[in-house]
Structure formats: structure tokens, C-alpha cells
């Protein structure tokens, strides 16, 4: 059994939708590397909200320490991918 942390396009779109909803922006305003705080005016509450919404959506736990990597969409997708992989590894 190999574990992968590559999420498919559908998951990526779902993540983007959740984040755009929280940041109250349109999806086309966000790129893979536009930064939540600097480019989209996210505050610390927004960051926590993103983390907890993703935990809910993917049924997984994400350590708050990961927030330092969750600064743009690419970063979040990587972190969520790892969290999902870790959950699958535990289940096996």
C-alpha cells in the first residue's frame, strides 16, 4: 500500500471553494500562490477558520503548527494532502 499526498483536482477545487468562501472573495481572484494574508486580507481568525473548515470537510486533524505553511492555496493543498495521507496510513 502506497500512500500519496497528491490530492485530485476535485479536492483542490473543493479546498479553494472553502477558502474563498471564508475570505469572502471570488475564486478567480485567487491563484495557486496568491497569499491569503498579504493579497486577500486574511486575519488570524480567518486562518483558524480555514484550518477547522478543512478538518471538517476532510474528516481529518491538522496541527495548528501547519498554519505557517498554509499561506496560499498550494501550501494548503500540500498540508491537507499530507493530513489525509496520514489518516489513511493510520487506518491501515
Amino acid at each position: 500500500m502506497t500512500t500519496t499526498n497528491e490530492l485530485n483536482a476535485e479536492d483542490r477545487a473543493r479546498i479553494k471553494g472553502i477558502i474563498c468562501d471564508i475570505l469572502e472573495i471570488e475564486p478567480d481572484e485567487m491563484t495557486d500562490t496568491s497569499r491569503f494574508k498579504e493579497d486577500h486580507e486574511a486575519d488570524s481568525m480567518g486562518a483558524i477558520e480555514i484550518l477547522s473548515q478543512l478538518e471538517r470537510a476532510f474528516g481529518t486533524d491538522i496541527d495548528q503548527a501547519e498554519l505557517s505553511r498554509m499561506v496560499d492555496l498550494d501550501g494548503v493543498v500540500t498540508v491537507v494532502g499530507e493530513a489525509v495521507a496520514a489518516k489513511l496510513a493510520r487506518a491501515n
Binding site: 469572502e24 477558520e49 477547522s52 471538517r56 474528516g59
Partner: protein
Amino acid sequence: MSSLVLSAWSAISPYGVGNAPLRNGLAEGRDAVAALDRDLHEVPFQQAALVPDFTAARYVGKKGTRTMDRVTALAVTAVGNLVESVAEELAARPEQTALVLGTGSGSVQSIMDFTKDSLSGERPYHVEPARFPNTVMNRAAGQSAIWHRIKGPNTTVAGGSLTGLLALSYALRLHRGGHCARVLCGAAEEFSAQRAWLEWHGRADEERETPLGEGAAVFLIEPAEDAAAAGRTALARVGATRFRAYRGTDGPREALTACVRSALDTAGVEPGAIRFVAPLGGGGKLAAEEEQAVIDALPGVHPEWIRMRERIGDTSAAATALQLAAVLATAGEQGLGPGEAALVTGVERDGQVGCAVFTGG
């Protein structure tokens, strides 16, 4: 008798957002209760009186309202329409304006949704943190103040169907104590599935069918001389408020009659001066007792009765505030005239009655 007057008001009712829809709806004698879309609302009621097309995004704005619940949005909108009247004072001395807002339990919908998420999610902490503030009772009052930069005392008052009158009474004390120069005071209530179910189970059989309504009403309360100096018309002077407890099903009549007599006495108002009476009303024995109590206290007087509950349903915590708004809407742009007075009453099924007397001129 206090020197405080009501010099501006703002209402959201099932007739629509703003004072004009309420004024027109009442003038036309229109009924705002309509069939509920049962696909949208899983509730035990066939009908309700909702504020038409009301959403936070539409009336408060798209930014910062994603997680704002309905009662909070109703309050923020109603207060927003009121603060236009005191924009200068608010900008100059924001800490001198207080906000006293009545509410039921806050939003029972928000409280139950959040709790359900915690109990049914994969982890108890898999909740939406941004929705947590909706679960506290003072969310609507706090958010209204933050949104409109009102920095004076911020108070939430809850007292069932008497909430609006109790908030008014609190506002008078707050001002008398020297804590602020003016008070924005009122109450808000939302329609929700959870509130519908709670009402359905909590009511006596005889009043079970009364449709639920929703809305908000807030008033600017300030000294008469301040209103005059600012060029605002004193629509009504706050005469007095009175509250009493009662026991048993025959208790409300006697208790409310005593309340009304005492309030009239304090306000120095002869029963014959009462032009408008706005009772909580509705169906059932309590409503009959309420009207009889007023008749007992006003022998031989024939006021105009404004029965809001028949028009806009049971607005629970917002009811008595909307009754007062209805009095002002009916009295017209200049408010109560010289020598005129109005009476707002309520009977709470948990054992309390209350009233407020307002005078003109």
C-alpha cells in the same frame, strides 16, 4: 415622569425593511402572514410572517457577513437605519451613545446548529469557529455596536414577550444613572426552524396555531432639550414603565390593571387621554385577560386598538418593541399630539405583565 423622549425610530417588520412599509402596511390594514415554503422550512407551522427577501448579504453587505446569523443581521440593519439620525453625535462622542437591545435567547438556531456540529462531527472540535459568536446572547447587540461604532454601554436584555418593554425600562435607568447621553433601545427576533419547534412545544394548545413573525424595532431615546437642539421632533415622551408578577390563569388581568393604573399615575396621565393601545394580543385566555385589564384601567375610554399580532404574527422578543413602533407609525410624522397618550402592554406566559405609557406634546 422622565424628561426623555423618543425622537427617532427604525423598524423592520414582515411588511418590509424600514418605517414606511410598516406605516403603509398598518394604514392599509394588511395582513403580513403568508404560507410558508415547507421545502425551505421544516417546521410545524403552515404560515409565518417573514421579513420579505431579508438576508445579511443584501441588507448589511457582502463583506463580513458570511457567518452573521439572521437575528444579528436584523439588529445591525435596524440600528444602522437609526444611527443615521444621530450620525454627528455618534462621530463626535461615540462613547456617549448606549445600545440596549432585547433578544429572545439570542439565536436558538445558531446555538443548536453549533452544538449539533460538535456532537455529530468526526471530532467535537470540528465546528466552524467563526459561527461561535452567534451562540452567545449578546451577539446582536455587540455586533450592532461594532458595525456602527457605538461605544457607549452595550446591554442585552431578555424577558420573553415583555423584552421590548424591559429593555426600555433598563434604558431609562441607564440614562438616569448618568452612563450615557442618549440610548438606542429596542429588540430583535428572527424566524427559524428551531424557534418554531420550541414555540410549538412551549405553547398552550389554544395559542399553538398563532403564526410566528419576526423583525426588529429600535428607538432613539434622549432628553427633550437635546432633541430640540438637534432639530429632531419629539415623537413621544416616555411617561412610565411598570411590571408585575402574577400567579395562576386569573392573575394577569388584576396585575396588569394595577400596572396600567400605576403607570398612568406616575406619568400624570388621565385615562381619557389614551388615544392608542397596543397590546401583545394574540389568541387564547392570556390575550383576553390582557385586553380586559386595559379596559378595567380605562373605564369609559375608547382608544384606538393596534393589534399587531393579528397582522404580523407572534414576534416573541421583538413583539412589544414592534408594538411601540406601530404606535409611532400610526401616530404619524409628528408623533403623539399635545394631550394625547399611548399605552403598550404585554403578558408573558411565564408569569409577568408589563406596560409603558407615552405622552405627546
